[in-house]
Symmetry: C2
Subunit: 462 residues, 2 copies
C-alpha cells in the first residue's frame, strides 16, 4: 500500500489563529485539513514531538489534540504505527444546486390573495413590545411551555376578541397554535373524527390537510347569502362567516342563526375560520358567529393577515368540552409556538398597538381596494368586482368559460394571480363560477398602479 506521509507540521500549513486556545485551534485546523483533503485518508501524521516543535506548541497540547480527533473518529491510532487519518472520512459533496431554478424572471406583479403587505410590519412598535415583554416576563417563561400558550397572551386575546370580534370566551378556553393550518391539524381527526362540510370554494391547502388526516369533506354550495347551510348533511362544518373565502360575502344573518341551530340540534360543531375579520371597510366588522353559542363553535384566528404570516401565531377559542381533547393532541409541553413572540404579542395588544396597526392597515387596504374599483370602473366597467366590502382581495366575476383565457392573458401581462377554479372543491356540483381572485395587499406602493393597469388589460373586452 503506497503511503502518504506528513513529515512535519510545516507541510500541513495549519492555521492556528482560531478562537478558543491553541489546543482548540490545532484540533480545528487538523479537522479542516482532513476535510478539505490536504490530509488524505490513511496519511500518517508526524509524531507529537515533531509537530509540537514545528508549531511551537507544548507536546501534550498536540497529544491531546490527536487523542481528541481519534475519539471523534477523524484519526486512528494504532499501537506502534503512529497516528493516521481515518479511512472513513468522506469529503462533503460540492454545494447543492437547487433543483427548481426559475426559468424566467417570474411575474412582474404579485396579485395572489392571502398575503398582507409585508412592508408594513410595525417593526418599531413590535420591538418596543418585545422590550417590555422581556423586562417583565417571569423566569418560567423560559422553561418548558404550557401547551395552552402563555397566560399573558390568552388574557390579552380574550379581551381583544370580545371587543373587536364579539367572541365570548375566557383565557382558559383559548389554545395558542402556529396558525390556522396547525389549528386544523390539532382538531382533525383526533378531536373531530368523521366527515366535515366545507364551503364549495375554499383553500386547496386546507382540503389537503383534511385529505392527509383522512377526513372526508363534503362541499356546501354557495349563493349570494353565503354557504347554503340549510343543505347541511353532517353535524360538523367549517365556514368563513365574516368574509367567505374566496368569494367575499358575509354569511347572511338568517344563515348564521341557522348554522348555530344545526350544530346545536345535531350535537355538531361549527369551525369558524375568522381569517381576516378585522378588515371590513364599508361598515363595522361583522362579529363572530361564536358569540351566539360558544359551546358549539370553535373560533380560529391568527396574526397571519393582521400582522404577518412570518410570526406563526394563531389561536383556537374552544367550547369547554373540547379543551382537554385539544390539549391532549398538543402534548404535555408547548412544542410549537415560541414564548417570546407570544409575550410580545400580548404586550402589543395590551398597549393598543394591535388596534392601531389594524386601523392603519384598514385605511391602507381600503385605499388599495378603492383604487382597484376605480381602475375597473374606468378601464373595464363591464367587470364588476365582488367581495370588496372586506379583506385583502376581491373577486372579478367573468362570463362563463372565460376564466382560463383570462388567466393566460394575466400571465402574459406579467401578473401572478389565481382563478376561482383553483379554489373549487372537486366534488362540488354547484354551477361553476368563472372569476379572477385579486389580492391587492402585496404589490409595492410604487408598482400598484401599473399592476392595476396590467390587470385591466388582461380582462375580457365588454
Amino acid at each position: 500500500m503506497p503511503e502518504s506521509w506528513v513529515n512535519s507540521g510545516v507541510d500541513l500549513h495549519l492555521d492556528l489563529r482560531g478562537a478558543g486556545g491553541r489546543r482548540a485551534a490545532l484540533i480545528a485546523a487538523l479537522r479542516d485539513a482532513v476535510r478539505d483533503g490536504r490530509l488524505a485518508p490513511g496519511t500518517r501524521l508526524p509524531p507529537y514531538r515533531s509537530l509540537a516543535a514545528d508549531l511551537g506548541l507544548a507536546r501534550n497540547t498536540v497529544a491531546d489534540a490527536y487523542a481528541e480527533l481519534v475519539a471523534e473518529g477523524w484519526l486512528t491510532a494504532v499501537q506502534g504505527s503512529g497516528t493516521r487519518v481515518a479511512e472513513r472520512v468522506e469529503p462533503l459533496k460540492t454545494a447543492r444546486i437547487p433543483k427548481k431554478v426559475p426559468k424566467t424572471a417570474g411575474p412582474r406583479h404579485n396579485l395572489r390573495q392571502g398575503q398582507p403587505d409585508a412592508t408594513s410590519f410595525p417593526r418599531t412598535e413590535w420591538l418596543a413590545a418585545a422590550r417590555r415583554a422581556l423586562n417583565v416576563a417571569p423566569h418560567d417563561a423560559f422553561g418548558p411551555g404550557d401547551p395552552r400558550g402563555r397566560p399573558e397572551l390568552r388574557e390579552a386575546l380574550s379581551g381583544y376578541l370580545a371587543r373587536a370580534r364579539g367572541v365570548r370566551t375566557s383565557p382558559d378556553r383559548i389554545v395558542v397554535c402556529s396558525g390556522f393550518a396547525h389549528a386544523l391539524r390539532l382538531l382533525f381527526p383526533a378531536v373531530l373524527p368523521g366527515s366535515l362540510a366545507v364551503e364549495a370554494y375554499g383553500l386547496a391547502f386546507h382540503r389537503s390537510i383534511f385529505a392527509a388526516a383522512k377526513v372526508r369533506t363534503i362541499p356546501l354550495a354557495l349563493d349570494e347569502h353565503g354557504a347554503r347551510v340549510e343543505d347541511l348533511a353532517v353535524p360538523t362544518v367549517l365556514l368563513t362567516p365574516a368574509h367567505q373565502f374566496p368569494t367575499g360575502g358575509p354569511l347572511h344573518h338568517d344563515r348564521r342563526v341557522a348554522v348555530v341551530g344545526h350544530v346545536r340540534a345535531t350535537g355538531g360543531l361549527l369551525i369558524e375560520d375568522d381569517y381576516d375579520g378585522e378588515f371590513r371597510y364599508d361598515r363595522k366588522p361583522v362579529g363572530a358567529v361564536q358569540g351566539l353559542d360558544p359551546e358549539h363553535v370553535v373560533y380560529a384566528g391568527s396574526v397571519s393577515k393582521s400582522l404577518s404570516p412570518a410570526l406563526r401565531l394563531g389561536w383556537l377559542v374552544l367550547p369547554e368540552r373540547l379543551v382537554d381533547a385539544v390539549l391532549a393532541v398538543k402534548g404535555e409541553r408547548e412544542a410549537w409556538a415560541g414564548a417570546l413572540d407570544q409575550l410580545t404579542l400580548a404586550e402589543f395588544i395590551a398597549a393598543g398597538a394591535y388596534d392601531r396597526h389594524i386601523r392603519r392597515m384598514r385605511q391602507r387596504y381600503r385605499r388599495r381596494r378603492d383604487l382597484l374599483v376605480g381602475a375597473l370602473a374606468e378601464q373595464a366597467p363591464h367587470v364588476v368586482p365582488t367581495g370588496i366590502a372586506a379583506g385583502l382581495h376581491a373577486v372579478l366575476r367573468l362570463p362563463p368559460g372565460t376564466e382560463k383565457a383570462a388567466l393566460k392573458a394575466a400571465a402574459w401581462q406579467g401578473l401572478a394571480l389565481d382563478g376561482l377554479a383553483a379554489f373549487r372543491h372537486p366534488d362540488s356540483r354547484m354551477s361553476t363560477m368563472d372569476g379572477l381572485v385579486v389580492g391587492y395587499a402585496t404589490p409595492p406602493e410604487h408598482a400598484y398602479a401599473a399592476a392595476l393597469a396590467a390587470l385591466c388589460r388582461a380582462l375580457p373586452p365588454a
Copy 2:
C-alpha cells in the same frame, strides 16, 4: 307567552365609554347586556328614537347598531313587531375549573432532567439581537416563510456548527424546525419508513412519537462504551453520541467509526441527536459524528438546552439526498418556526453572544455538577455519580432492585426526579439498570444546597 320589555335606555345601564366611537360602544354594550343576561332572549328593545333620546345619541347611530346586531344574530327584527333579543343566544358557561388540581403543594425541589436554567436566559443580549434583526431584516422576512428557514439563520448555523461541533455542512442542507420532536415528525415515517434502532435507554416521549408514526423501534443495548452498534440489525439508527441520554457517556470512537461504516454499508442513516453537545466540562466537546460522513448522518440540534425550550427553534443538517424529501413534508411555506426568533438567533450567533452564553452556562453547570459530586463524596460516598463529564444531569447508579424505593424516599424528601426505569425501552432485553437521573440545572441558586442535601438523604445507606 309572557313578554320581557325594555322601556327605555335607562333600564339598560349601558356603559358607552368603550373605545371606537359611540356606535361601536353601543354595539359592544348591547352585546354585553345580552351576554350577561340583562337582556334575556325574547326581550323587546326600545324603539330607535326612544333609546337614542335616552342615551343622547343620533337616531341612526342606534338604528345602525340594531342592524349590526341583527346581522350578527344577537337580535332579530320582525316587521311591525320591533327588535328583540334573539332566542338562540346561549349564555357562556361559568369559567372552567381545571380538572387537574394539584392535591399537594408539589415537590420542593425539581431535579428532573432535561431543562436548562430558566433564570439565566440572556434577556438583554437577546433583545439587542432582536433590535439588530428588526433593523436589517428585508421586507420579505414578514411575508410567507421559506420552509428551509431564514437564510440568515442557516448561514449562521452552518458556521457555528462547523466551529463548535465539527459538523460539515452548507446552509442549503440545513432545515430549521421547532425542536427535536418536530425534527422526528418531519423524518418519520414519510422520509424514513421502516424500523429504526434506538438506544435501550432514551426519552419515552421520543418513543411515543415513533409509535404515533407507526415506526417500530428496536432497542440497542448499552455498555460502558455506549450503544452496541455492532448489534445493529436495521439500516437506520438514532443515537445520542456526544452524551448518551440518559446514562451519560460518549460513544466510543471505535463505535463512532463502526456506526458510520454500518449506515454506509447498508445504505442506511444515522440520526444524531446532539441535544446538549455544547456542555462538556472536563475536556473539549466531542465533535459530531456527522463530520465523518455528512451523506449518511442526519444531525439534529436545537436551542432547547443551550438557550431555552421556550424558543421552539431547532435544526436538521441533512444529507443532500434528503433535503427535498424533508422540505416536501414541511410544505410550501414555513408553518412552524417564527421568522423573528430565527433572525434574532442568527444575529445572536453572529455577534458571538451565543458562544459567550454557552461559556457562561458551562461554568455555571460545571459548578453545579461539582457541588453534586462533592455532596455525594461527603454524604453518600458509596454512591458514584456517572455521566458527569457533560450535560445538565448525572446518573446515580443504585444496587439492583433499589430504584423504586429510592424514588419513594426522594419523593418523601420533596424531590421531583426520575429513575432510569422511566427511560428504558419496553422491548429491551439488556439487564436492568437501577439509578436516579438527577438534573442539576433547574433548582434556583439559593435552594440548590438544600436540594442536594435532600437527595443525599434519599439515597440508600452504604
